[in-house]
């Protein structure tokens, strides 16, 4: 069989062609290194890739014979690049569109920043109130309720309860405009009210005025100083704040560094309430031991509640304060009710169930808690 004259796929690459291709490749290498010496911005990458692709095509078509060979093989080889493109493009739909604060790059939209675009935003206007109402529905109703009465679906699990804006008492920071602004910006440490500093400042102004509009009682007027304390400069038209819509790290660290709840590791001596008869044969104090191990961390030594719980099981931001286990509680009204609560937990609350206790242990526990009940 004569390779020269027969089918193309036994093609012999003429030496001249080989040398020519080799020379071209070396020349193109020189070109690409030379061009890289100039700063053409994003063009550098494009040019380098074009040159590389030309070189690659020369190698594939001539050194690897694809130019002379059956099309089948070229199709097979080219197809692989198609799948590589699929791989990078679809991966990029994730990695380049995350929206996280820490991931930055040219394809990421810059974090919305800078100051207010409103004029004198600390003064309420009907437009701001209307916008605030809209935002309120998205951001706040889950805790504060549709009408801002502090009765949203998540409210029952929270202690302290979310603010009822219609009522004038109990506002942690007070009801002044500057204070509502501060609350939205910083949240309320020790409660479930988070900082909403990630919202644009204009959105926050809108919310401030909507919340204020829910209560018709008179509110003391803020002084320029009041505003200054919360970072608003009323001598400037827009309030002067040039915050980036992210939470500064040190601010966040400070807020998060809440004192860890006390962990009780030793059993205490207890004085039992009058009328409590400890069980014979060493089961005396079983209830208190179980209580120490399973309950005291959250409910306090003497079941008095008031313990601030930051983390609870899977919840890393629980931020609740426990209630006292007093005799008015539904779960304390009978042994059965108690068993129900302890085993299954309290639906809608963060109280977890504990299925490990036997009925004897539950009896002792119930007796113990009743005996140390604090009003």
């Amino acid at each position: 069989m004569e390779p020269h004259t027969e089918k193309h796929h036994h093609h012999i690459l003429p030496t001249k062609v080989a040398l020519g291709i080799g020379g071209t490749l070396l020349f193109l290498t020189f070109v690409t290194v030379w061009i890289a010496g100039f700063d053409l911005g994003p063009l550098n990458f494009t040019v380098a890739m074009i040159v590389a692709t030309i070189k690659a095509l020369l190698v594939a078509l001539f050194f690897m014979n694809l130019y002379y060979d059956r099309k089948e093989n070229a199709v097979i080889f080219a197809a692989s690049f198609l799948f590589l493109i699929i791989f990078i493009v679809l991966t990029a739909t994730d990695l380049f569109f995350r929206g996280d604060v820490y991931v930055k790059g040219p394809l990421m939209a810059a974090a919305p920043s800078s100051g207010s675009k409103l004029k004198k935003p600390w003064i309420a206007t009907p437009e701001l109130v209307a916008k605030g109402k809209q935002l309120f529905q998205q951001q706040c109703v889950s805790c504060h309720g549709v009408e801002g009465k502090g009765d949203g679906p998540a409210a029952s699990a929270l202690n302290p309860r979310p603010r009822n804006f219609h009522v004038s008492e109990g506002w942690k920071n007070g009801r002044k405009v500057s204070m509502i602004f501060k609350t939205l910006k910083e949240g309320i440490p020790g409660s479930s009210m988070a900082s909403y500093a990630t919202l644009h400042i204009d959105d926050r102004w809108a919310l401030v005025h909507y919340v204020g509009s829910l209560n018709s009682d008179s509110v003391p007027v803020d002084s320029a100083d009041d505003f200054k304390k919360v970072g608003v400069d009323i001598t400037q038209e827009s309030g002067g704040a040039t915050e980036v819509a992210t939470i500064p790290l040190d601010f966040a660290m400070e807020r998060v560094a809440v004192e860890e709840p006390k962990v009780i590791t030793q059993a205490h001596e207890y004085t039992f309430a009058e009328g409590y008869v400890p069980r014979p044969e060493g089961t005396a104090g079983m209830g208190s031991q179980i209580y120490q191990v399973s309950c005291a961390q959250c409910h306090g030594d003497k079941a008095q509640g008031g313990v601030k719980v930051k983390k609870l099981g899977g919840f890393t931001h629980a931020y609740v304060t426990t209630l006292p286990l007093s005799s008015e509680r539904e779960g304390m009204k009978s042994q059965d009710a108690f068993n129900q609560v302890v085993i299954q937990g309290l639906p809608g609350h963060l109280m977890p169930g504990n299925g490990q206790l036997s009925s004897a242990e539950l009896r002792e526990l119930y007796q113990f808690i009743r005996s140390v009940n604090v009003k």
Partner: protein, 215 residues
């Protein structure tokens, strides 16, 4: 299996002809190269993603690569591809002497590539420009810089392993050429080793600019 002098090649029994066997072997090699594209491709995807996320870091880090050595290696590899192509065509023409000469040259050039690489790597080790947790260079301050060098070492390292394997198969084909097993009637292994070697060159053609020139 075959003899250059008598020109007889006994093809495997399940193929209808030697030509069929050659075509099938060639296609098999192309499919193998497809798998190599996807394997190296994974690293290129990682490169692309991280470069897109941290362009300034890549720019700063790539300045620490030895462009001259990279360019030299590019020249070396391209030349070796040329000599490999000439080795194949010599075999096709029945010129055993030239085929041996070109195969040896290809092998030597491959050695040169690895030697230059050795010097490059030594410099990096010396300067603390190491992958991941071993990175300890004072000048390059970007905290994510170790990532660039992880990619650099993974990509050039995997490529280097392929160069080493390439040298092995070139030596194997060289030995068989010397023994007179190849000629115009049968040169399949030479052709296929050539494809592999050209592919190794192809990967470097992209690696070089992506890492050394435009990082």
């Amino acid at each position: 299996m075959s003899n250059l002098e008598t020109g007889v090649h006994h093809h495997a029994h399940h193929f209808a002809s030697a030509d069929d066997e050659f075509e099938a072997s060639k296609q098999g090699m192309w499919i193998f190269l497809v798998t190599e594209v996807l394997m190296f491709g994974g690293l290129f995807v990682a490169y692309g993603i991280f470069r897109g996320l941290y362009p300034e870091m890549f720019h700063a880090a790539h300045k620490f690569l030895a462009v001259k050595m990279g360019a030299l290696n590019t020249v070396v590899l391209i030349s070796s591809s040329l000599t490999m192509a000439l080795a194949v065509s010599s075999t096709q023409k029945g010129d055993r002497k030239k085929a041996v000469l070109f195969l040896i040259t290809t092998f030597v050039l491959a050695c040169c590539f690895l030697v230059v690489k050795y010097f490059e790597y030594s410099h990096k080790f010396h300067d603390g420009l190491l992958p991941g947790q071993f990175f300890h260079n004072e000048e390059l301050k970007d905290p994510k810089a170790p990532l660039f060098f992880s990619l650099y070492f993974m990509m050039t390292g995997l490529h280097g392993v392929h160069v080493l394997i390439g040298m092995g198969v070139i030596a194997w084909v060289l030995r068989r050429t010397v023994k007179g097993e190849f000629g115009p009637q049968f040169y399949t292994p030479v052709e296929l080793v050539g494809f592999y070697w050209h592919f190794v060159d192809l990967v470097w053609i992209y690696l070089f600019p992506l890492l050394y020139l435009v990082g």
